[in-house]
Point group: C2
Chain length 427, copies 2
């Protein structure tokens, strides 16, 4: 039995490693188009900012490690040109043909630079280690004074902070009315105010048509993300309405024995029940594990996501999970919401303001989502809501939660519990 995995980053390597654990006799080949494997894309902004000294620090494992410790053949600069599923074979750009019994497609996503002038020398993306190295070099050598970011997703926000740290005045443009891909006007306005205090301008609802229109020294394009599905589609793999590859709970595509995982695949949003495309490293790893396990003969499932996301931008933690009130309404719920500003720790323990907004459905009283902003304990609080959403908890049940309290960690009434008390009054 031979397993071929296309893609050597989060999902692909998780799949390969998990398949090896399930079946020690499997022949496993991972084909990666780039020069490095197993690198953490989420660390790239921190490399450019200087927190991470070398790109090598972002690499968890090398091909040598996989060969030696896992008996997995990881090949770099192996660019797959086509998949012939009828013959169970992939063909590389070099012409080489590699047979498979089971295939995992983990081809990731990319920024499609559809903006005029996006090929100019001062225009960057921040997706690969090479991108990070180029951007850092440009910032250090050219010291740009005026910078623009296109796309107010978390990569765009992180890139903006990095360039601000390097001394540039930064403007972020997003074609959508709101930031972070979240239909949440409160979130966007709070974020805009916070960025303003750090001299970063956030301009949502502004589409940049041409790089030439921007009088800046550097541009980072962090918009126009699309799943890399062309290879799969040409081979007969179906995509869903999100544009990403549609799979079963077992991460299998419409082609038997062909799995998909990571940023190229969609999954179920457990709050709305609908398929979504939310490319994130954590989800990619989980999908990859399940794809690899099933490709190796086990029987595992990936339930889906609740849409949890977090970013730290100029000292502020910004997190959300589930759906916003507007998104809830668009998905057929009858949402009520409550927003409070509490303290992240006891007041006498230098507690700082933290904002919690909770959304629930009036008909079922089910909790639907949360947005949390603050300096400390932001990840923990959003994760409590993420667990509650996965368990389909009602707001009433949520109000009963037995959360940890000690002055260095929280106030005696946790902001989550204050928020849910306000929410209950709206239901």
């Amino acid at each position: 039995m031979r397993l071929v995995v296309i893609g050597g980053v989060a999902a692909g390597l998780s799949a390969a490693a998990r398949a090896r654990r399930i079946d020690s006799s499997l022949e496993i080949t991972v084909l990666e188009r780039g020069e490095l494997v197993s690198w953490g894309a989420c660390g790239l902004p921190y490399f450019v900012a200087g927190h991470v000294r070398s790109l090598a620090q972002l690499v968890t494992y090398t091909p040598e490690y996989f060969a030696r410790e896992r008996k997995i053949d990881v090949r770099t600069r192996a660019d797959v040109a086509s998949i012939a599923h009828g013959r169970r074979q992939v063909t590389l750009a070099s012409g080489e043909r590699i047979p498979y019994d089971k295939l995992v497609i983990a081809t990731g996503a990319r920024v499609v630079r559809s903006i005029e002038g996006a090929d100019r020398d001062h225009v960057f993306t921040l997706q690969t280690p090479e991108d990070g190295a180029r951007l850092k070099q440009f910032l250090l050598e050219r010291r740009p004074r005026r910078a623009a970011v296109i796309g107010a997703g978390y990569i765009g926000l992180e890139a903006a902070e990095v360039m601000r740290t390097h001394g540039a005045a930064v403007t972020i443009f997003d074609a959508q009315a709101e930031a972070l891909g979240r239909e949440d006007p409160n979130l966007t306005s709070t974020l805009a105010k916070h960025l303003e205090t750090h001299r970063i301008e956030l301009r949502c609802g502004t589409r940049v048509k041409s790089i030439g229109d921007l009088a800046v020294d550097i541009v980072v394009v962090a918009a126009g993300f699309q799943p890399n599905v062309e290879l799969a589609v040409e081979a007969g793999v179906e995509t869903g309405r999100s544009g990403a590859i549609r799979t079963t709970e077992r991460m299998e595509t419409n082609l038997s024995g062909v799995y998909a995982a990571g940023d190229c695949a969609e999954c179920v949003h457990l709050v709305t029940g609908k398929p979504v495309w939310i490319p994130l490293g954590t989800t990619a790893n989980k999908m990859g594990r399940v794809a690899g396990a099933n490709a190796a003969g086990a029987r595992e499932r990936f339930a889906g996501v609740v849409g949890t996301s977090i970013v730290r931008i100029c000292g502020l933690g910004v997190a959300f999970t589930g759906v916003s009130a507007a998104e809830a309404r668009a998905n057929g719920f009858d949402p009520a919401s409550a927003k409070i500003v509490g303290r992240d720790r006891a007041g006498y323990f230098r507690g700082r303001p933290t904002t919690v907004e909770l959304v629930a459905d009036r008909r079922t009283r089910r909790l639907l989502g949360a947005t949390i902003l603050g300096e400390l304990e932001v990840a923990g609080r959003v994760n409590v809501v993420a667990a509650a959403l996965a368990a389909r908890m009602t707001a009433d049940d949520f109000a009963q939660l037995d959360l940890a309290y000690a002055p260095p960690f929280a106030p005696v009434w946790d902001p989550l519990l204050i928020a849910v008390q306000q929410l209950l009054k709206q239901l």
Copy 2:
């Protein structure tokens, strides 16, 4: 209608304030034995340590505030001597009689100093603001060099750290084999090692019979906690097997119209289904709210607790929720457990080791508890488990959780998810 509340701290004032919100015409009287009301006992160690400058900072509300803003009559130095439920009347030590229609008993808990010599001048407890003031004065004036703490619960641990900060060599004694009232040998040994590096000796399984046996300059007694139930019991209120007052989910005692809440009352442990006495400020506030609401004619319930607790001791966050493996076994479960050491954040973001131990039941695969130790994100992680326990999640469901990831907050595989993968192998 007249509501009388006995006790003016967490549970009592929560009850009074909530009753006022439900019924604006209710006559509400709160009787507090001490001089202050609405003070946060959890802040006392931080007052003694100097983080909190004055005791006033620990006081959230004054009697004047309650009179002015809530039309609640809060009386201090009002020591209730007896309750005559037949006549619906309480009698103060002064002889004054106060009638009631509904009564909330929130008499708290106390340290019973059963140790010989515990009345000596260098022996302290840390329960009331007066205790805190006395202890702080002694530490500043006498500068004790050798200190002992009796009781390795969270108050004992916090007191030990405070005295260490003041320069004393500290030994903590506990009659039980393990610390923090948790049957968890791993936890106790990790804690002992950590304390040792801070020159605090932890001696569990050592009962101190006489203060005279300790060659020390100062002793803090933080053991022998008991609920203050005598007043209630004399009035015919029943206690449970824990020794604390037994109530319904609505916080009503066996006497109709008499409610109990806070440190004098027991509640249901949602993992074991059994009544427990776990006196904590958070629980007291929640119980108080429900008792006050129901006393005022609403219909609310307090579901119970999952036993969540957290303390920070010499920089280490120590938290647990649910039951330990030993406690699970004693409660009829067939426990499996897994312990891992992960990182609290991305490695290149100065991530530090964090220990996560998870317990689940082999028969039902239900998650039963967790112990978490680390420097950062400890509260958040234990709270995720607390939510999962409240939802009666299986380990399988827990492994699917969509937790937040960004390098400043967590590693891409959260320690909770690494731990549950190990746990699944044991099930």
